[in-house]
Symmetry: C2
Subunit: 321 residues, 2 copies
């Protein structure tokens, strides 16, 4: 089967490649064309997942399809952007119809959930990896960046932390757990839900935002650096799922939340006056610390003592991958 047939069969025909608001020209030409409404900017993010580095190989292609897109779209949520479209650059060692069909099904399910259309890409032979580039739109001046946090702001997160990292030993087959514990953790790992509505609700309110992919401490370090402030995280305020605490114990769950990565939950800074109306609207916001003058990230226990660990979050280029 030729490259062109491959792309046409499995992706151009996938539900996620049909139509899409803002898509003027989809798959099949040299470029796709997007229409960006007047008064809005285009938000772009790129993520690569490599077999054996970012996911186990082999793994379920349906779940991989879901997860690979969700991870990329989460960056749009972190900017407060409304998703429009994405491209997929897929590198495969062999062409296997069953694999491609299952991958395309997972991809399409997540694409429909996020209202994002596949508009192009490239398919090549090589070691299994995929690069997603996602596109969204956001009103001029309202994108949520990492650089606006101010001393006095609250540090908030949009949901429970640590579930993605907690799932990893289950994903890798290193541990097992009863379904009541394993199922919610694995669901979070394989099908993280980008917090798009929350990101859009934070436009004009949050002073800084990002999605947690490297662990709360490492990602707060990005806000501290970009905003030229210090971030204080209060360990006892971390929202932890009962499944995670049952699986790892409280200390293990806290460690997963602080340093584990793979959460794809929003972390953001908020002037305290903005919090009550957002809570009244029902947004799942947890205050986990605050912003002060200074630099870096500090972890505090319930007595306000500094218990900052030496870890710096997950690094793809760490010494022992």
């Amino acid at each position: 089967m030729g490259e062109f047939e491959l792309i046409r069969n499995f992706f151009a025909a996938a539900p996620c490649a049909q139509g899409g608001e803002g898509v003027a020209l989809g798959i099949g030409d040299d470029c796709a064309l997007l229409a960006i409404p007047t008064g809005e900017q285009l938000a772009i993010s790129t993520d690569t997942l490599v077999a054996g580095v970012h996911f186990a190989d082999p793994c379920d292609p349906f779940l991989l399809g879901q997860r690979s897109l969700a991870v990329a779209v989460s960056d749009l949520a972190a900017m407060g952007a409304t998703p429009i479209a994405f491209t997929l650059a897929l590198t495969l060692p062999t062409v296997t119809t069953d694999w491609l069909q299952a991958y395309a099904r997972g991809l399409s399910l997540m694409a429909q959930s996020c209202r994002v259309a596949l508009v192009g890409g490239d398919t090549t032979r090589g070691p299994l990896s995929m690069t997603m580039t996602v596109f969204g739109r956001v009103p001029n001046g309202l994108a949520l960046t990492r650089s606006g946090a101010q001393p006095g702001d609250l540090l908030c997160v949009g949901g429970e932390l640590g579930n993605g990292a907690g799932a990893l030993p289950l994903v890798l087959g290193e541990r097992t757990a009863e379904p009541a514990i394993a199922d919610p953790l694995l669901a979070h790992y394989w099908s993280p839900q980008p917090q798009l509505a929350l990101g859009q609700a934070l436009r004009g309110k949050a002073t800084a935002a990002l999605d947690i992919s490297d662990g709360l401490l490492a990602d707060c370090g990005h806000i501290a650096l970009a905003s030229k402030v210090a971030v204080q995280v209060e360990c006892d305020r971390l929202p932890l799922s009962s499944a995670l605490v049952a699986f790892l114990g409280k200390a293990g769950a806290q460690n997963a939340a602080l340093s584990g990565g793979d959460d794809y939950v929003l972390a953001f800074t908020l002037p305290s006056v903005e919090l009550p109306p957002l809570l009244a609207e029902g947004w799942p916001i947890h205050v986990v610390g605050r912003i002060v003058a200074g630099q870096g990230v500090t972890l505090l226990d319930s007595d306000g003592q500094d218990i900052t660990p030496q870890t710096r979050g997950y690094q793809h280029f760490r010494e022992s991958p």
Copy 2:
């Protein structure tokens, strides 16, 4: 060295990552932000290059930096788009400072030549490959697609064909040649010049266009399919460089031009009335055939005899890679 330092040191500091017209927010946040002028659409294209499939491994990282970006930007030329920005998803087996510096130098040189700014990306550990996603802008309704060719149009190309394919045995070390032959072929292979100005000049004039990446015959097949017409290519009209003919002989040079790929020269269809003013403006346009009613691609000799070969152009997923 951590992933973040790696990206910051070698790419955020590269000349190509500084500023850029239309770039509202560059490297360093969850997303980049682009401003698209009112009345224009965004053009997007993605290309992946895999070591051992699309380029020899090892190869010169400076040359690879140039070529990897040029190949992607060529798709913007094919749409008549004006380049704005690009993202780079780079997967590396090891982090080597010398390699990265040389790659970034080649990338920056091509980026400056094409006036395109690096606005983001991802850097991961894994088998060497790179995915470029490029962004351009084009006035509403003036993008050059593949689907508008009409019977009676001329089939044209924007320059000599076959040089990229002709260079391949030199690149792979399978053959050698004297500098007068090798240098121009290798220059075309490693540093193809996207025909951006020509693409923009063809807006509102060409009825269909693409850039030749799979060989003239295979790429004309894309126009024939999308436009629902037949394309006739006249073998004796193919523009061939003297270096290519000296290296491969006339028949070999014609074969490289027809089926070799890697040209990144524009092929387009033009109502005959549009040709004289474009030639008068000095554009390097060669008429190589014409569009007729029907379907598919036919190769004709100087007597008008059908000599269509059975090849279908370069396929990444061909049987013997």
